[in-house]
């Protein structure tokens, strides 16, 4: 069996084997799971936000329509990276500010003291004494919210389009049967629109996969962070010194993403076939560029 106790005495493949199994590399492999976890957490949240904003943008009341339309338009007009940089920070400060105002209402000074943003100890979110995993989880949750906000707007667009694509004939038939507006919405529109939404939502899934490297900018130790950290040249202060290997790590990341794309494409082709059974559709499920 491989013994990695004295790395300076082994070389070649054995050294590589030991190198690739250090605790740091384990953290690197784990970060792939974090990426998958992010996608799994954002997708349903984004669809939920999309449903809300799409319904809102089609509402009859102007006051409901306005925020829905504005939300979708804002995210279209502004680069997503700006949201990813701004939202977690704004949310973090906002939450701590609200907690400060409610929990330490006796302290009336401003939270912005000079350059510092200071809230009382019990208002800190998460608390200083909380264990590391709580901090990690909180940072991750903020990232999920930022992603969901951006992708919710995209999903809103897709779903609004899908709602508009449900054949009017089906809706009119439902009305002719005497269904109320609410019944028409839930029984017909809501169930039928998914088939039309699938091409757009599959696009969204692909986009989400490709947006995950931006997690690195949010300060989360994701795969890009580890690729840069592990790839940089290391002196003998480290147990496994090596020259600059960043290009190999990034090649690995490239292959990972290409594989994810390939698998997802296969999955969606399958789903498309399943969903289009029994549908006499004018639209071609293979249409690109939704």
């Amino acid at each position: 069996m491989l013994s990695c106790v004295n790395p300076d005495q082994i070389s070649g493949l054995a050294w590589l084997g030991c190198y690739l199994s250090t605790a740091k590399h384990m953290a690197f492999y784990q970060s792939f799971l974090i990426v998958l976890l992010l996608i799994a957490a954002v997708a349903p949240l984004a669809i939920l936000l999309g449903l809300l904003s799409a319904s809102a943008s089609r509402a009859r009341f102007f006051l409901i329509r306005l925020p829905g339309t504005l939300y979708i338009a804002m995210v279209r007009g502004i680069p997503d990276i700006v949201f990813f940089l701004f939202v977690p920070l704004a949310l973090d400060q906002g939450i701590e500010y609200l907690r400060h105002r409610s929990l330490c209402s006796d302290q009336t000074g401003s939270v912005w003291q000079g350059n510092d943003f200071v809230v009382c100890d019990i208002a800190k979110m998460p608390l200083s004494s909380a264990s590391q995993w709580v901090h990690d989880f909180y940072g991750f949750a903020l990232a999920v919210v930022a992603f969901a906000l951006v992708f919710g707007a995209f999903a809103g667009n897709v779903i609004a389009g899908a709602m508009a694509a449900v054949p009017k004939a089906q809706l009119e038939t439902a009305e002719a049967y005497g269904m109320t507006r609410r019944q028409v919405y839930w029984r017909i529109m809501f169930r039928q629109m998914w088939i039309y939404a699938l091409p757009g939502l599959s696009n969204l899934w692909m986009i989400l996969i490709k947006a995950t490297p931006l997690l690195f900018l949010l300060g989360i130790q994701d795969i890009v962070y580890w690729a840069r950290e592990l790839g940089g040249a290391k002196t003998s202060a480290f147990t496994y010194p090596h020259p600059d290997w960043r290009i190999w790590y990034f090649l690995g990341l490239l292959v990972f993403y290409l594989m994810m794309t390939w698998v997802s494409e296969r999955g969606f082709t399958y789903l498309n076939k399943q969903f289009s059974r029994g549908q006499s559709m004018a639209i071609n499920p293979q249409k690109e560029g939704a």
Binding site: N115, L218, G219
Partner: protein
């Protein structure tokens, strides 16, 4: 702005009562021998040992947090951690924004390093430096062309692959790299800029600053600080 980076370890050799105050120590983790993340995925280096010892003397429960250099001051200010212990030189510009403890490492020179055999005029050449360091500021004010990188090892990589003619960084960081490069790199200049290295704290955190200062002074008084410096920076390093 970036949020706290997750993970690392835990330090806090706690000898005091169980209800000791938790202090989060922020460091960069990419600047050996001051601080780096070793292959066991733990914060390691001169500042790790120093920080643990200071916390022990001040009766604090310390937790180590790693954060990118770019956002290390903004995140201290927003309260993501309580100290910056990351090889940060005490400068007047930084002092306007945060407070510093007494220095725990004396001022040491910064060096220019280039590929051996290259004739480089450091006042007009292309010089790489890490964003937001005093060295970057120095290069920006001289006549040289500054290329900034987010992390220190990218600056060395830039010299190695010819992107930059020279790199300007702390001598203590560069020397081990030059020595191990097998004559590929050579020191071509040395300038002393910036003060000693101190721990950064929020300006509103006077109590913690006092505790840390007491601990630092006690380490200077009994010589343990000098021993630690010699251990990590070699016998030739400057001591108190």
């Amino acid at each position: 702005m970036k949020k706290i980076i997750l993970a690392t370890i835990f330090a806090g050799v706690l000898a005091g009562p169980a209800l000791a105050e938790t202090v989060r120590m922020g460091t960069e983790g990419a600047y050996p021998p001051y601080n780096f993340i070793n292959d066991k995925n733990e914060v390691d280096g001169f500042e790790r040992e120093l920080g643990d010892e200071l916390c022990r003397r001040a009766n604090l429960d310390c937790v180590w947090v790693v954060n990118d250099w770019d956002s290390i001051i903004p995140n201290l200010v927003s309260g993501n951690y309580d100290t910056i212990i990351a090889g940060m030189s005490i400068t007047a510009e930084r002092d306007e924004v945060i407070d510093f403890t007494h220095e725990y490492y004396p001022p040491s020179p910064s060096m220019y390093v280039a590929l051996s055999g290259n004739n480089v005029d450091v006042n007009t050449a292309v010089v790489a430096a890490q964003t937001g360091t005093i060295q970057a500021g120095h290069v920006a004010s001289s006549g040289a062309t500054l290329v900034e990188f987010a992390s220190p090892d990218e600056t060395i990589a830039a010299v190695r692959n010819g992107e930059a003619d020279a790199v300007f960084a702390d001598g203590d960081y560069l020397m081990p790299i030059v020595e191990e490069s097998g004559n590929e790199l050579a020191v071509i200049g040395e300038i002393g800029i910036g003060g000693g290295v101190g721990m950064g704290l929020r300006e509103s955190d006077g109590a913690l600053k006092a505790k840390m200062n007491t601990a630092i002074d006690s380490m200077k008084a009994d010589g343990s600080l000098n021993t630690l410096i010699k251990k990590w920076f070699g016998d030739g390093a400057q001591t108190f």
